[in-house]
Amino acid sequence: MMKEKLSRSTEPKSWLRFSAPQMFYPLAGKMAPWFAAVAAVLGVVGLYIGLFVAPTDFQQGEVYRVIFIHVPAAWMSMFVYLVMAFWSAVGLVMNTRLSFMMAKALAPTGAMFCFVALWTGALWGKPTWGTYWVWDARLTSQLLLMFLYLGFMALTAAIEDPRRSDRAGALIALVGAVNVPIIYFSVSWWNTLHQGASVSLTKAPSMASTMLAGMLLMAFAAWAYTIAVTLWRVRSLILERERHTEWVGHELDAQEGRA
């Protein structure tokens, strides 16, 4: 314990020292439970507001309440991809291993939110539009986004050499990020050409403030959840990658001793 403290005090004091996996590991372990707690509290409050306080929609009835899951999930799925591309770019430019690990740790959560958004969207579509799926621009780009996530995860999983896996994944994440706007605009153009004006969510009447509050709370809950889960996942990645180092040995010994 003393030795660890000493070695830590010789490190530079800048926050950049946390880019070393060894330094980030304990920090992530300290932060993750807090974010998880915030996610739980916000989620409970948001769901309470969404399911009990917010008024019934006069057009759609109770069905609209799926929005409190659906919209935050859709937001997060897109945002997480951006964050992933950001960490990939940082990793490729600054050559920091932790950045690649962050990108890798984010991907499953992004894909999960993508799937949740598509799934709840389908369940919402059936009673309101009369069909589980329409080839609407938003739905289609969401589907393609999920394929991008799956491609990233499949590629990084298929390459055994961690260095190559990290860089290849980062490159495909960046290529995907460049293509996401192109895909979105081409798909919306295609859709308007083929179907004319189809069902659109943007034309929905303005929202009651409690609805908005519930949705924002749920969105923040999704943020906190993503951060917590990513930190936990990155901790596992760090241990896996650094398993040959001394500090991981000490860390695991300490954890076993505590248990």
Binding site: R164, I172, V187, L193
Partner: protein, 225 residues
């Protein structure tokens, strides 16, 4: 300029010659394209009106799939016999000979599709004046497919199950090309004129030509080092 053209032409000529010596490999891609297109009438029924309607989409999806099928040949052989490492070690810019390789690959696998496509379109009873637009859309679009695919091919170089992985990585990125390519023919048939789609495809080709070789070069370096 001359200094760059030399290695470019050398790689192009080499790849074309290698392709010529293994002609059957190339013909397989073309045969795949023809067969996939010919499967659709069996699937959706022989009704002429319906076939006419789906023809552009069918031809384009088939072109996408056959491009994908041929892609792992782009670098695999050179990777296996060490040529790729030598090329990477050479002082010539990587992006330059990547473009040469992709150009040779397109001449060998993409150009035949462009030439054969109008004949296949006639099987679907597409109006004859739309054939020019179809050829043009494929001629502009299939090089984009080859350029984007080269990035994926470089990333999945030498991996187990690389072919399937390549499909998962690259097919979502092909969607805009598919939309504008098939959309060009549809727009022409619908009387709207295809210039918007063709211009977008042309712009896409220039953009891909500018960016994809560098991404591909980076991917090759990642794969080899």
């Amino acid at each position: 300029m001359n200094g760059l053209m030399g290695p470019f032409m050398a790689v192009l000529r080499r790849d074309l010659m290698l392709a010529w010596r293994g002609r059957t490999d190339v013909l397989v891609t073309l045969a795949f394209f023809v067969i996939v297109v010919c499967l659709f009438p069996f699937g959706v029924g022989p009704e002429t009106n319906q076939l006419r309607e789906i023809a552009p989409g069918v031809l384009w999806v088939a072109a996408l799939l056959s491009t994908l099928l041929s892609l792992n040949r782009l670098f695999a052989q050179d990777h296996a016999d060490g040529t790729l490492e030598q090329l990477l070690l050479s002082p010539e810019p990587t992006a330059l000979w990547v473009v040469a390789k992709v150009a040779a690959h397109w001449i060998v696998t993409g150009l035949p599709l462009v030439i054969v496509a109008p004949g296949l379109a006639l099987l679907f009873d597409v109006q004859q004046d739309a054939l020019g637009v179809l050829v043009l859309s494929l001629a502009l679009g299939s090089p984009i497919l080859a350029l984007l695919g080269a990035v994926g091919a470089a990333l999945t170089l030498g991996l187990r199950g690389g072919g399937v992985l390549l499909a998962l990585l690259i097919l979502p990125l092909y969607v805009p090309v598919l939309i504008f390519g098939a959309g060009a023919v549809d727009a022409h048939l619908g009387g709207m004129g295809a210039s918007a789609q063709l211009l977008l495809l042309g712009g896409g080709l220039l953009g891909a030509l500018a960016a994809a070789p560098f991404a591909c070069a980076a991917a090759l370096r990642i794969a080899i080092e």
